[in-house]
């Protein structure tokens, strides 16, 4: 698969654009890790969450202080707030959170396992301004429940998908973490999602971080990665459900065909997060060594405007397999969550593995 002149030119232009975006580092996507409590026990959890977390939920008012501060420099309508966890539905004041975020002018969404979602809860969230929702379905029943560590999880997410799929005011997508067990049943999952009226499906591999390090069955080999990319290409040829590879990794020659945009890790460039303990980072699954400050010690915008150097200038990432890689100018060292600290090599490069 060789790239045409047009695609090569677009890739080069996009690389210049990405470099420039890092200089501008305009915040447009803010995660709020609103709780670390979770009702599932997923094998691949990057947060290592538990039902009863040692860290208490951040009071809503503390997060609203951050949003009011951001509003002094940004148009809130252009900053997407995404509630994550843990499991956001574990918060009893979730509707209140949504209402207050909406009243400040921010669009908001949430990433959920859907276990506690019911029609009334969803209606209340929509009335609180919910604009986007992401649910997970990680295979058919047996494999989904295995990954999620709960025998009722599949039935719960099936129910949740039926609830969200026809709500016009809320955009949705479904995420599947592809692993050795579920890769052979992707087409069955896809047909199920189409049948339920789901409009978008995002496929991930599982990063070797958090609990996932301990399970070899979670990690795809070269043949499986290639199969996954080819499968996504095939799915994208029909419009019944918008299928894409997540923006977790650079896809080399596949990159421009397996998703709607080219790979660009925007962690710390356009994406920030406020973690449950007040720490400020880029994406919530970034290694704790990349925490840049804490909202309980200094204003969020001081941190966002003046720190994050290691994410906005990624030349330090040119080590390990990236050191002499001719693709570095396009991937900039890959995704931030695959680095353990600002000297470490990437934990994984899918493109590099495909070349072996």
């Amino acid at each position: 698969m060789s790239l045409g002149i047009r695609q090569n030119l677009v890739k080069k232009l996009f690389a210049g654009f990405a470099k420039n975006e890092a200089k501008l580092h305009k915040l447009s996507y803010l995660f709020w890790e609103c709780t670390l409590r979770c009702n599932l026990n997923c094998l691949h959890c990057g947060s290592d969450c538990k039902k009863e977390s040692q860290i208490k939920d951040m009071p809503l008012e503390d997060f609203l202080t951050v949003l009011r501060e951001i509003k002094t420099e940004y148009d809130p309508g252009k900053v997407m707030i995404v509630l994550t966890g843990g499991e956001p539905l574990m918060r009893k004041d979730l509707e209140e959170c949504g209402k207050k975020i909406t009243s400040l002018g921010y669009p908001w969404g949430m990433v959920t396992n859907g276990y506690m979602l019911n029609p009334d809860k969803f209606r209340n969230l929509v009335n609180s301004g919910l604009r986007a929702i992401t649910l997970s379905m990680d295979g058919l029943e047996e494999n989904h429940n295995w990954l999620r560590g709960n025998k009722k999880s599949f039935a719960a997410v099936e129910n949740a998908l039926s609830i969200i799929s026809h709500e016009e005011k809320v955009v949705h997508d479904v995420v599947t973490c592809v692993n050795k067990r579920n890769i052979s049943e992707l087409e069955d999952v896809r047909q199920n999602l189409i049948h339920k009226g789901i409009k978008a499906w995002r496929l991930f591999t599982i990063a070797p971080i958090g609990r996932a390090i301990n399970y070899s069955e979670l990690h795809l080999d070269k043949t499986e990665i290639k199969y996954l990319f080819e499968y996504i290409l095939k799915c994208r040829q029909d419009n019944r459900i918008n299928t894409s590879f997540s923006c977790e990794a650079y896809g080399g020659e596949y990159d421009h065909q397996i998703r709607d945009g080219l790979f660009f890790c925007r962690a710390g460039i356009n994406i920030g997060s406020v973690l449950a303990n007040g720490s400020v980072s880029a994406c919530p699954n970034n290694n704790p060594s990349f925490v840049q400050g804490n909202i309980y010690k200094e204003p969020f915008l001081n941190i966002w405007n003046n720190k994050f150097d290691s994410m906005r200038n990624r030349n330090w990432m040119k080590n390990g397999v990236c050191k002499n890689c001719k693709e570095f100018k396009y991937c900039n060292g890959g995704a931030m969550h695959l680095r353990e600290n600002c000297h470490s090599e990437t934990l994984r490069c899918l493109w590099h593995e495909l070349q072996k």
Binding site: R6, K78, V82
Partner: protein, 125 residues
């Protein structure tokens, strides 16, 4: 910050010429939700002078949302709107009288694919 802003605008225009503007305007964090809204960006200019027109009210209606914004001194507008099918109805109104020229109300529909929207208007003379 002025130079990177200018550069950003040039990159957007050039990538837009290659049909790749959609790569730039919306994105999704890898472990986040989709941005459920389209970030609408466009320019309204005078057909004769090619200069951007300031102070026009831009009303945008989608399948599930509606909102208004006003063009800046360069005729640019930028806003986010909830949309599922991305079919947008746009109405441009001159709301500042003779200031910045006089223009008739203009209606158009677009099948929005994240491209920069460009609209040219004829001034009433």
């Amino acid at each position: 910050m002025k130079l990177p802003k200018i550069k950003s605008s040039i990159y957007k225009k050039v990538l837009g010429m290659f049909g790749a503007a959609g790569f730039l305007i919306t994105f999704q964090a890898c472990y986040g939700t989709p941005q459920n809204y389209a970030n609408i960006e466009g320019t309204i200019s005078d057909n004769d002078t090619q200069q951007g027109i300031e102070g026009l009210k831009v009303n945008i209606v989608s399948d599930s949302d509606s909102l208004s914004t006003v063009t800046d001194s360069s005729g640019n507008f930028y806003t986010g709107i909830i949309t599922n099918d991305r079919n947008l109805k746009i109405t441009v109104e001159d709301i500042d009288g003779e200031e910045n020229g006089t223009y008739n109300t203009f209606n158009t529909s677009v099948d929005y694919k994240n491209e920069l929207i460009t609209i040219s208007l004829n001034e009433n003379i």
